[in-house]
């Protein structure tokens, strides 16, 4: 089994729902390790990008596990926090549009509307219940990752919006895509 490969669209696995983790056992811990390694290994191969979070489905495991980077702005901080069976208990605040990308969706960044605040309930790595409130970018990350657990990817939110699709140029800046030519009928995405 290739632990370090990220599952990408058009793989149907990404649209499957993940199963609740009933016991935080050795298999779960191994999945978590593999998720961390896969994310960092992906990031090390990318010039202008940071691997900010990952869901287990993205390494082909249909378990409700997500990992979130401790520090989004500092690449040298390679630690992650783990959330098992994460649930968004409440969506609050206002709807904000901002850019998101996904390790499983090559070359596309989208301007995705998300709630600015969320309340999250989950289990930590040791199986203990944690509850937290997140705002801003972190709130966005939770919404994005919990979507994965439900078999949803970020492009599903902006499917009909011709202004929302971008690509990352070689100099690290974002360029809008031609919706008609590159997005609407793109077999890889839909």
């Amino acid at each position: 089994m290739h632990h370090r490969n990220i599952v990408s669209l058009p793989s149907k696995t990404l649209r499957a729902r993940s199963k609740r983790v009933s016991v935080v056992d050795e298999a779960v811990r191994e999945t978590i390790e593999n998720m961390k390694k896969a994310t960092l290994s992906w990031e090390d191969s990318r010039k202008h990008e940071v691997g900010v979070a990952l869901a287990a489905v993205q390494i082909g495991e249909l378990k409700r596990i997500i990992i979130v980077r401790n520090n989004f702005e500092d690449k040298s901080d390679r630690r992650f926090k783990v959330f098992i069976n994460p649930e968004i208990v409440k969506l609050e605040g206002e709807i904000v549009e901002d850019f998101e990308g996904c390790l499983s969706i090559k070359d596309i960044y989208g301007k995705v509307p998300r709630y600015s605040k969320v309340r999250v309930k989950a289990l930590d790595e040791s199986g203990k219940e944690v509850r937290l409130k997140a705002e801003g970018f972190l709130a966005r990350v939770f919404q994005h990752e919990v979507d994965h657990i439900k078999g949803k990817v970020f492009i599903d939110h902006i499917k009909d919006d011709p202004e929302a699709f971008f690509t990352l140029k070689s100099d690290g800046s974002l360029e809008k895509l031609d919706y008609e030519k590159q997005v609407r009928k793109n077999r890889i995405l839909w």
Partner: protein
Amino acid sequence: MKNKSEKIVFFGSGPVAARSLESLVGSFEIEAVVTKPATLEMMQHATQGKAGSWHALSTRAELDDLLSRRFFISRLGVIVDFGIIVSRHVIEAFPLGIVNSHFSLLPEWRGADPITFAVLSGQKKTGVSLMLVDEKLDEGPLLAQKEVTIQSKVTTPELTSQLISVSNAMLAKYLPKYLAGELTPYPQDLSKPVTYSRKLTKADGLIDWHKPAEQIEREIRAYCEWPKSFTRLGAAEVIIKRAEVVRLAGPVGEPKIDKASLIVYCGQDALRLTRLQPIGKKEMDAAAFITGYKRRLSEA
């Protein structure tokens, strides 16, 4: 989920800048490095080539020109040990401004050479300030400060190395917070004394033996790397590298040999010179110096 990595533009020229850049390369994407022609290679080595683009220039006008011609994506600039004062035009090119790591606890020791002046003053503490640059020298608001104890016999290069480590840790800790919108800059505390250091000259190194021994001893440590404390003892021109204060009195500026000890009387007390470097020769201890220069010491 992935995100574009945060980019910064780095301005710096000199070994302190190089060490800072080396540390930043791990955490951030360096969109561009702006340096002086003489230090271009040093900076390239510090990043191991990992920077988007390189710019070498010498004047404030050239810097203004660069920022007029060239658009940077970076929201933030970082400036360490650059030697060119940036104009408002350059600062405004970055939505989050330019962060400077200044090696003192501002508003103390604003100006060109805070470290040397901290050693010179004999003060017990100094530190590092992360400051948002403004057009006026070292008057900008702060992101963070950290205090550092000055060890009693420290030299400028030793203190510099210590402060660089502290600075690198602070940049790694606070820049991400600032980029994430979690830090609010605060003004410098002007209820504290505002002091200014200046650029030293070669002439500052010339020892004036009329000064108290304690002060000269501090100069020796402060000027250790540059401009160095030098004097004429008899017919010998020497740089003094290390000395100890001794409670003796005698004719100011006169050297006295006492077995293996070399003492010079000062305005107050005296200094026992322990490490000397005759100009053009290697550094040596007092005993070696006495053996080689005994005759010259007694010549006028």
